[in-house]
Structure formats: C-alpha cells, structure tokens
C-alpha cells in the first residue's frame, strides 16, 4: 500500500532515511525508538504531512506528486492522521470531534450520529456539549482520538495515541483499533510508549534509531536483562538463555527486548571459532518447508527460528532432534526498546 524508497529528510543537524519500507494493506505497524529518534518525522512522511527532500513515497504503486495539491488532498483524506499533541480547537468537545467529518462535507445528521457513537465508545459521551475547559489530560486525549477515529478512512496513522491515557483509555483504544483492523480491514500505523497495549495488537515492529529505520523481524523476540561487558557491547540473559551478546550505540537500561533476524543465523554441526560473537548450542525441534527456504525451530533454552536452504539441510543431514550450534554476530541482534 505505502512504499517508501530512501525517503530522506534533514533539518537542523538531524537526518532520517527510510531505506526501503513497505506497508501492506490491512496490517498493523508500530514504530518504536527513543525520543527524538525520528519516529514522528517518519510518520509524517508516510502520512504525507511532510515532503521528503529526496527519495520517493508511493501509494498503491503510484508515486506521490507533492505539486498536485488536489491529488495530495485526496490522498491525505484517505488517511486519518493524528499528530502528537495535536491541537484541540476553541470549541466544544463535540465540535472538536466532528471537525474531520465537517471538512469532508458530511451532512449534519450523519455527523451527529457518528460523533456521538465514537464519543460513547471512548466513554466520553457525557462530555459532548462541554467546552475544553476543565478537561483532564486523559479526557483531552480521548477527544483527540475521537476526532481521528470517527473518520472512516482506510488508513489510520496515529502518533502516540496512548499518551496521557489511563489504563481504561488504553484498553478502549486497543479494542477500537483491533476492531477497525479486523472488521474494516483498516491499515494502522502508530507509535507508542506503552508496550504492553501496543504489542497486544501484535503489530509489525519498525525500529527507528537516530534516523535509521529498520523493520524488526517478528521472530526470535526475547525479553530479559542486559549488562554492559565492553564498549557498545552488552550481554543479554533471561531465565532460559544464559547469554547473547549484542551491540548498541545507546546506553541500555537493565530490561531489554531483542530480536534476531532468522536469516542472520548460521547453523553449524560443531562449535567453531568464527568472528560471530554468539555461538549457542541447541537441538532441532521442527523443520517446516516455506516458499524458497526451510524454516527450522531450534531449541536453545528458548525456541529460535532459523532459515536455511534445502541444500544446506541435506549437506548437514539435519533431522529433528539433531544437535546444532547457532552462530550470529552481535550486530545481528536488534534492540527493540
């Protein structure tokens, strides 16, 4: 649906490059990364709020032409975009929530029905006629959400939608997003600081660190603790894994989630000394054929997914319960948060 090819933007000492990034229809994506890493900037580029200095953005295979304002507007209106700290206008809660529908030219009766419905879903129906004065931060955020979620769009791009929400608010948000995705097939792209709720939607995860964008494979995601063992080098461990070395330019707090790309893992029958820092002994638990490769599940404390070719499997004569060593570099380990 959306395809970004080296969309690049620089301003005041910061620069971001999307690399090749694709978003498929009907899926959920979550952008993660530290503050100031470029998540919002990337979202703005995807949501056509910001024109990249170079590179291209295409929708359904058509490159976006930022010079054609009508086409741009049409594309923008297919997206319900929520800015981080978007402004609430000097108007009642209802009128704020109705803004997106009004400018799309919907009739008053339809607007009333839809807005009241979404306000009820977000449990702020009783605030409809109120002015913004006296609303709490959480209520204000629900009003912002109502304003975006009331729009019937194929794509929702939400920058920190759960900021300032209480637990109940975050639950409601996750429920609504999940139902939009399942029932209407909506594509959802968002950023979030609340991992539990965010990951409940089981999104594809894209990490943005220092303006560098990398989609993180959903396989081999482990959570545990990290300790520093050298310059930019850390050792990960949890109750099932005794040690995985990984590198990071950023200081890592003790709790960490990591992901290892299945394609970056090499299998070996012996414990060989290579430049790869990690060498984990394990047992083949399962072998599954997938298009163009074989997917192996290797147990080494936790279950790892590894991709190898048919030839390699035959050469190594691997079978279920074969002992193997998994080798991968410290740089193959991605830090999710």
């Amino acid at each position: 649906m959306f395809r970004l090819e080296n969309a690049q933007i620089s301003f005041s000492g910061f620069s971001l490059n999307s690399g090749l990034l694709e978003f498929e229809k009907g899926r959920i994506y979550c952008l993660t990364g530290p503050n100031g890493s470029g998540k919002s900037t990337l979202l703005k580029i995807i949501g056509l709020q910001l024109q990249p200095d170079s590179g291209s953005v295409s929708i359904e295979g058509r490159a976006v032409d930022y010079g054609k304002s009508e086409e741009l507007l049409k594309n923008r209106r297919n997206i319900s975009y929520m800015l981080q700290d978007s402004r609430l206008f000097y108007a009642s809660v209802f009128d704020n929530a109705a803004y997106g529908l009004k400018i799309r030219g919907l009739g008053a009766a339809e607007i009333k029905e839809k807005v009241n419905k979404i306000l009820k879903m977000l449990e702020i129906g009783h605030l409809a006629s109120r002015s913004l004065k006296g609303l709490s931060g959480g209520e204000a955020q629900r009003v912002r959400l109502a304003r975006n979620l009331v729009i019937d769009a194929p794509v929702y791009i939400l920058d920190e939608p759960s900021a300032g929400l209480d637990t109940r608010g975050r639950e409601l948000l996750a429920e609504i997003l999940s139902s939009y995705n399942k029932e209407k097939g909506a594509t959802i792209i968002f950023t979030s600081h609340h991992k539990e709720e965010a990951y409940r939607l089981s999104p594809e995860i894209i990490s943005v660190i220092d303006g560098k964008v990398s989609p993180i494979p959903r396989e081999n995601v482990f959570t545990g603790s990290a300790e520093k063992t050298g310059e930019k080098l850390y050792r990960f461990r949890n109750e099932n894994i005794s040690s995985i070395y990984f590198s990071s330019d950023h200081a890592i707090k003790d709790k960490v989630s990591i992901a290892i790309d299945p394609e970056e893992v090499i299998l070996s029958l012996t414990n060989v000394h290579t430049s790869a820092r990690n060498c984990l002994p394990g047992t083949v638990k399962n072998i599954k054929e997938i298009p163009s490769a074989l997917q192996l599940t290797v147990t080494a404390g936790e279950d790892f997914t590894v991709l190898i070719t048919k030839n390699s499997l035959e050469e190594m004569s691997l079978k279920e319960n074969s002992p193997v060593y998994m080798l991968f570099k410290a740089t193959a380990v991605k830090v999710i948060n």
């Binding site: 978007s86 609430l88 000097y90 108007a91 400018i103 799309r104 004065k133 609303l135």
Partner: protein, 233 residues
C-alpha cells in the same frame, strides 16, 4: 489635605447623582473610543492578517514601522492632524478641527499601529499547530484559513481591548483636535485636565473613578468570556 477628602466626597455625590453634564462627558468618551476602536479594527485586523499570511518584500519593514508607531506620543498625533485639519492646513476646507470627527480620526490613527502590531504577534504566536492540525485532519487551503481565523478570535479580541484601553485613556489627541468644548468635545480625560487646573477636584476624581471602572469592567468581562473557551487546563 481637606481638599482631597472634599474632592472624594464630591466625586461620590456626582457619581450617584443624575448630573447630566457629568454623564454626557462619560458617554462621549465611551462613544468616541468605541468608534475609533471599531474603525481601527476594520482597517488594522485585515492588514495584520495580510502582513502575516502574504509574503512580500518590505513586509518586515512595515511591521517594524507599526511596532515603532505603537509608542507614538498622543500629542504628536494631535500635532500632526492639527496641522492637517487647521484652517491653513491641506484639509482646512473641511472645517473638521475641534469636532468629534477630528477626535475620531486622530484616535483611530493613534491606535491603528496598536491593533496591527498586537494582532500580528497574536497570529504569529498561534504557531504552526493550527494549520498542522487542520491539514492532518484533511483540511483544504480555505478550510485551513477559516480555522486559523477562528482560532485567532480570542487573541484578536484581546488586542482590540488593549487598543480600546489606550484610546479611552488618552488625552493629547482629544485635547488638541477636540478642543475640550463643553457639551460637545469634552471627554473624561480632557475634563480631568481642565477641572484639575481650575482646582475642581471633585469632578476630576469622579471622572477618574469612572475611567478606571469602565476599563476594569471591560477587562473583567473579557476575561470571563475567554475563560469559557480556554483550552485544556
């Protein structure tokens, strides 16, 4: 010391009375100030929006000129229009000097820069969030502009209140262009100046109290009004 206390008691007697001359002075001040504020807003507010939205050469220069003129002394404006409107001046034939019209012209000119400059800075302080938010929700160019005007309304109203306060309290223009003619161009401030020089403290103090009361009332209600709509605490 006694004359001050006598003045104060005389002031309250006047305020509580139905002395027509006293209330005529008050009404004239209010009327002229409202007219000049309205005229200055009709010219100044669109001018300010134009200065912010349109990009052209000399824009910043015009804004700087307007900022400078904000602090122009009232007597200088008085002097300027006196020389234009006096019989020997270029607009002498209109015979406007020492009329209410002359006062309105001078006062409008006096506060026009106040309206323009304050409105410009108000609109600029509205920052990008208004247009960014409306664009993100799918607004076209016209809808963006309408939202911009709508969000600016309280800020602009505050600028007009400031302009009204300045014109309501000024004395130089009213004195030089109105001439302080009894029952015709005598305003609160010119009356205070005259009565004080005559030693009539009672009337001066009474007018001073009314002046402050009017200014206070306007600001009080404005604050109440904007608070109703003030955004999230």
């Amino acid at each position: 010391m006694d004359y001050i206390l006598e003045g104060i008691s005389e002031a309250f007697r006047l305020i509580l009375s139905s002395d027509s001359e006293f209330w005529n002075i008050v009404w004239l001040s209010v009327k002229l100030s409202i007219i000049s504020t309205l005229l200055a807003s009709v010219i100044g507010v669109p001018a300010a929006f134009f200065l912010v939205i349109k990009k052209f050469r000399g824009r910043e220069f015009l804004i700087t000129v307007s900022n400078t003129l904000m602090s122009i002394p009232t007597v200088v404006v008085g002097l300027l229009f006196y020389s234009i409107l006096s019989r020997r001046g270029p607009a002498g034939d209109l015979a406007l000097l020492f009329t209410q019209t002359a006062v309105v012209i001078g006062q409008t000119f006096l506060i026009l820069p106040v309206v323009v400059s304050l409105t410009v800075s108000t609109i600029r302080s509205l920052d990008k969030s208004v247009s960014e938010t409306s664009v993100s929700l799918g607004a076209n160019k016209t809808q963006q502009l309408l939202m911009f005007f709508s969000e600016a309304r309280f800020g602009v109203a505050a600028c007009l209140i400031t302009a009204f306060s300045r014109v309501f309290a000024e004395v130089g223009v009213s004195m030089m262009l109105g001439g302080n003619i009894r029952n015709y161009t005598r305003t609160i401030t010119t009356a205070i100046a005259l009565e004080t020089s005559k030693g009539e403290f009672g009337l001066s103090i009474a007018l001073g109290i009314v002046l402050l009361a009017v200014a206070f009332t306007i600001n009080f209600f404005f604050l109440k009004f904007t608070k109703l709509y003030r955004t999230v605490d």
